[in-house]
Amino acid sequence: MSRRFCEHRIAAGTRRDALKSLSAGFGYLAFAGLATAREATSSPLAPKRPHFAARAKRVIFLCMRGGPSHVDTFDHKPRLRTDHGRPSPYGTPWSASKFDFSRHGDGGLAISELFPNLARHADDLCLLRGMHCDQPAHAQAFVQMHTGSFQFVRPSMGAWTLYGLGTENQDLPGFISVNPPTATGGAQNYGSAFLPAAYQGTKFTVRDGSQRNRRIDQLRRGEANPYGIENAVNDRLTKAEQRRQLDLVAALNREKLDRDGHNPLVEGAIESLELGYRMQDAVPEIMDLSKETEETLSLYGVNEDPTDGFGRQCLLARRFAEAGVRFIELGHGSWDQHSNIETALADNCAETDKPIAGLLADLKRRDLLKDTLVLWGGEFGRTPYSPDGNGRDHNHKGYSTWMAGGGVKGGFSYGATDDHGYEAVENKMHVHDWHATILHLLGFDHERLVFRHASREMRLTDVHGSVAHDVVA
């Protein structure tokens, strides 16, 4: 059993005495206090202020599930070329990248030829090349990336963000996860766990119209739904008819409220019915790309092969961000190239390069990039060695992700793996540190953003995490 297991269940020794002296029922009282505070502000989702001045107001997380190969994308390792084919200490020989790297932007970041469009934004990118996490298995690492824990059901970082900041658009969910996987932890990855359910992510489904993905997309996500969520519209009633219907409901609810005198449950129901009603307009409107110009659509690669699927997601992310959604996650995968790395990795990059570059460009020209933190990454990286040179295995000891916008340094690279790209050795950033840094950019001290549950103060970073201040501009 790992030590982490134990720390997840109960706080480490130092807090022991302090906690022991707390009176009975503290857990409930803390929650009751929160509930009262919430009633005062009327909605748990009302915008809230963080601990200190934030650099980022919202997050767009480009989640590349499967484990993108860092040594073929953002972590250039010339040594692999020299040692290609020679035995590594790990069973199979070193394997050089089949792709060329060149330097980009004023910062001279080395980026592989797989990302020609993104490379033009090199001076916005803050590469994190010393990432590591605890597990080389997809599900565990993927859930840990989202919740901090690979073993227990914990709130995802989007839920923590929403809990901390509320949201700016009360007609849309504050935390949206687009096309999350059903496997590898499923709904846990956008769940609120012990946080109130108001903070859980809402899953949106966005179709992929590209030639290559149409069929599998349908198998996974079912029939295309233009609104992204279930029940977004009423097929039976006209708007006027429905308004009349809801007016009746509201009148009946008020009648009940008059009879009961004080009744927060009825008040809550009245409010959520009205929000639901507004969402029926807000959701179809935000999902409707028809008013976007041709120039914008093509900036993202919408309606083009092979970028249509992720292009739509990126464009929607900008629309959500503009509308005030707090935390937006986009899903793409799988990047799990155990074989065929040359073609499969190239395909993945081709599907995402233009859309991501389009997103950065669009955010920038709308002046949103400065306070939108864009994250890119998968649950781990891949091994710099390979049995046959065609595929790479999972590597959680060293890999790359990047950040852009939201107050991070551009054209900057932080952390490094060893000469071969096997293990993070310099300015290492564990996934807990990554979480701590993200919360810091959002204006939170990760040790103080807590929620009392199961008799202790829970955090996204559990008892770990330190902020990488070097990446902050």
């Binding site: 059993m1 590898t184 079912g222 977004a232 009648e255």
Partner: protein
């Protein structure tokens, strides 16, 4: 006939890992270095053997890589000698019995290792020589010094929850109090300075009784008949009427469906693994039905406890009884599991941990699993107590099923055919059987061919191999689920004892490679007489029977208290101890400690009859209070902790859906045979089975029978806070979200129910429709204003279906006054 049939149960052999855990779960230690391990031997090992193991084997067989394929690790001497699924890897001086040697020889008909190609001849010769010289290996696990506990268990006994239950005498009678329960509550009213509000109106009381006891609304006829009897009755007559209604409802099969579902929240019941990969449990439904039947039969709670922990070991009168008891042990099998885990030891340790956690939280309201890595931080539970319980569960085989082709961790199921349990699956017709056989044989043949090609050095695509293996295993498993004549076998998730108990050591910080002292199997010290917490070595079997008897004992101060509190919670809407699953120091204290003990004592006194306790609570004046607001009381006790009124609550997800079905006249009250997941098939969500298919299952049976795949709960349940069953969960959340509103406004299921409801109304004369509708939905006639609102809506062009749906959308529909 006695309980000997347990070990005679036949085995379903579709999976491949039988017995592997027995080997890997046990930390075997060799404290003294044997003679062959002299300096020369160790030098030989270090120079010739260790590098080979590291280079060629560790990738799949070491703690470092986190993998133990085939149950084998080669990174310690113990692990090598213990071996894996195919036996000890190394037996000193015996080439014949060392499977490692056979593997490196690359023989035609055995395992061939390493998979990437045969080792050079000199290396094979080194391995041979090493085994012949006694396999010297310095990689011995050191036993850590015994871990001592700092917890004072004797002092811990003073905590309220661990003191024996003594039946308290109710405080003196008051004019308000009608029953002993009321006398306890009345005393707290006085002490807290609150005054009880009025008794509930007859209509509200009838609706409350129907929903709380059966989870369904009363029909207008029920309401009319019962309120007529209650109206204007003096208290004594009123009591007689309530008794009649309570008894009628408790006798209805709907009661077990409602209360069984409550227990399933506690039992974290679900039909999938819900961990790293989410594999469907095709056989969990048996436990679901068993729980429902147990509540309907008013099975004494002590028996209910024992069956779930040790049903397979209880004395029985018939085969049928054994079959049912075995199903009850499903409780131990249905938890969350990380079945994609590569390391079997770790998987097994987590499985045992989950069992300890669920068992102690569900029955004892205690978080023993917090003591896995160190003494419990808050409660008087030394770390050794955790390992004492672990010894019991480690000596148990847990059969949860799954196919090896779909999950690294899979087990057999127990074959209980012929024991009177329903098959749950239709018979397989001859043609289908022939097709499966042909498919399996073809996969087998193609696989054999591929293996031959690999041996001859050809390069075969790994993905193709994997596909063929899955195909072979899936069809084989499908065939094994039937007798040759096509009759479905009865396969059960459940537990069985190992042949002998596994020695268990306390693990320092919970780490597998840091074993300390041996801990005898046993129970929690704080709940057992001093010096009597450990089982004698002579106890045969796992010790689960002893554990079950101890939990279900009248002497155990927690069991009756925890259950009485759960019953109170389900009746009243909030427990006397609000944290129903935590009676420890970090949980809440009881608001009415004496009342709790009274209820616990009553439960035991009435032969652990849950129905009797339900009845006694329902007949109290406290329970029959209205939920009216009251300014002065509210100022003193806004949470209504001291019960000056009835708690108003939102109905559970199941009751909301069932009520819509009942009101629309569409509710199908028949219990479906088996699970709706059968049509979905075996496998992992997103891998072999797909979310749209699971979500596509539509039925009009009661919600308790809907498929419960973790993370893929039906929308109607998920949106209204049905628990995802990750953990024992005795208290449900009540959230209010716009997605609930959108569901009620727009979901086709709701619209269809509104349509059915409208059809029922269409028969009534137009003038009486609004009244009829209110009676159907709210169990009461409309107020003047409501009648006007409804009539105006219909007169103004609103259609009847819209009107009906509007009533489903109201707050009152979801609320219980």
């Amino acid at each position: 006939m006695s309980g000997t049939i347990g070990k005679a149960g036949r085995w379903f052999v579709a999976a491949w890992t039988v017995g592997a855990w027995a080997a890997v779960g046990c930390v075997v230690l060799v404290p003294s270095i044997c003679s062959a391990d002299d300096a020369a031997g160790v030098r030989f090992f270090e120079s010739k053997i260790r590098p080979v193991l590291v280079k060629h084997c560790y990738e799949c067989h070491s703690a470092e890589s986190g993998k133990s394929k085939g149950g084998l690790r080669v990174d310690s001497r113990d692990a090598l000698r213990r071996g894996g699924d195919s036996g000890p890897a190394v037996v000193p001086r015996s080439l014949e019995r060392s499977t490692l040697y056979a593997a490196v020889l690359y023989g035609e008909d055995g395992s061939q290792m390493p998979p990437k190609g045969k080792l050079p001849e000199p290396v094979v010769a080194d391995v041979r020589r090493w085994i012949e010289m006694g396999a010297p290996d310095p990689r011995v696990t050191e036993v850590a010094p015994a871990v001592r506990s700092e917890i004072d268990v004797e002092a811990g006994r003073e905590f309220w929850a661990y003191r024996p239950v003594a039946k308290p005498t109710p405080p003196r009678a008051t004019p308000w109090a009608r029953t002993p329960i009321d006398r306890f509550v009345a005393a707290s009213h006085v002490a807290q300075g609150v005054t009880p509000v009025a008794d509930a109106e007859p209509g509200a009381l009838v609706r409350r009784l129907f929903f709380v006891l059966t989870g369904l609304p009363p029909s207008p006829e029920d309401v009319a008949a019962w309120t007529a009897r209650l109206d204007g009755a003096a208290w004594d007559d009123r009591e007689e009427v309530v008794v009649a209604l309570v008894d009628e409802l408790l006798a209805s099969p709907r009661y077990g469906e409602r209360w069984g579902r409550h227990w399933m929240d506690v039992a974290r019941f679900a039909e999938s693994t819900g961990g790293d990969q989410n594999n469907v449990y095709q056989h969990a439904w048996r436990y679901r039905d068993w729980v429902i039947d147990a509540f309907n039969d008013d099975m004494p709670f002590d028996e209910f406890v024992k069956a779930q922990i040790a049903g397979d070991l209880l004395p029985i009168a018939s085969d049928e009884e054994w079959g049912r008891n075995l199903v009850a042990t499903g409780f131990l099998t249905i938890g969350v599991k990380l079945v994609g885990e590569e390391d079997q030891q770790k998987f097994f340790a987590d499985l045992v941990d989950e069992q300890i956690d669920s068992t102690t939280r569900a029955f004892l309201g205690t978080t023993v699993a917090c003591a896995r890595c160190h003494d419990h931080v808050f409660d008087p539970i030394p770390q050794a107590d955790y390992y004492a319980l672990a010894g019991i569960f480690r000596s148990t085989e847990t059969h949860f099923g799954l196919l090896k082709a779909h999950a690294r961790q899979a087990t057999t199921l127990v074959d209980a055919s012929g024991l009177g349990l329903p098959a749950g699956t239709p018979a397989l017709d001859g043609r289908e059987r022939a097709r499966l056989i042909a498919e399996r044989d073809e996969a087998r043949a193609r696989l054999d061919d591929a293996m031959r090609r690999i041996r001859s050095g050809e390069n075969v695509f790994r993905g193709a191999l994997r596909r063929l293996r899955s195909q072979r295993d899936e069809t084989e498993a499908a065939l094994q689920a039937y007798d040759p004549d096509g009759t479905a076998r009865v396969l059960v998730m459940g537990t069985q004892d190992r042949d002998f108990p596994l020695e268990t050591r306390l693990l320092v910080r919970g780490e597998i490679d840091q074993p300390a002292q041996v801990v005898p199997r046993g129970l929690m010290q704080v709940l057992t007489p001093r010096g009597r917490s450990r089982l004698p070595r002579t106890v045969e079997g796992s010790g689960r029977l002893q554990l079950a008897e101890w939990i279900a004992s009248e002497q155990n101060p927690l069991t009756a208290r925890v259950m009485a509190n759960r019953v109170w919670h389900w009746m009243v809407g909030r427990g006397l101890v609000r944290t129903t699953d935590d009676f420890g120091r970090t949980g809440d204290r009881p608001t009415h400690p004496a009342l709790l003990d009274y209820l616990a004592a009553r439960l035991v006194e009435n032969d652990w009859s849950v129905k009797s306790l339900v009845r006694e609570i329902a007949l109290s004046r406290t329970w029959q209070l209205s939920s009216n607001h009251h300014e002065e009381n509210f100022a003193v006790d806004p949470e209504n902790a001291f019960l000056w009124r009835a708690h108003q609550r939102r109905l559970e997800a199941e009751a909301i859906r069932d009520a819509m079905l009942a009101v629309s006249g569409d509710l199908d009250l028949d219990r479906p045979v088996g699970t709706y997941l059968r049509e979905v098939g075996e496998g992992g969500v997103g891998q072999n089975v797909f979310e749209p298919v699971i979500r596509g299952i539509v039925t009009t049976t009661r919600s308790v029978y809907l498929p419960r795949v973790r993370s893929v709960l039906p929308e109607s349940l998920e949106l209204f806070d049905a628990p995802d069953a990750g953990l024992v969960s005795g208290v449900r959340e009540t959230t209010s979200s716009p997605l609930q509103a959108l569901y009620l406004m727009n979901d086709p299921f709701v619209q269809e129910r509104a349509g059915g409801f409208a059809k029922r109304l269409a028969d009534a004369p137009a003038a009486g429709r609004v009244d009829r509708a209110h009676l159907l939905v709210f169990g009461r006639p409309p107020t003047e204003r409501e009648r006007r609102l409804g009539q105006a809506f219909l007169a103004g062009g609103g259609d009847l279906t819209s009107y009906c749906q509007a009533l489903f959308c109201t707050a009152e529909f979801q609320l219980l006054d």
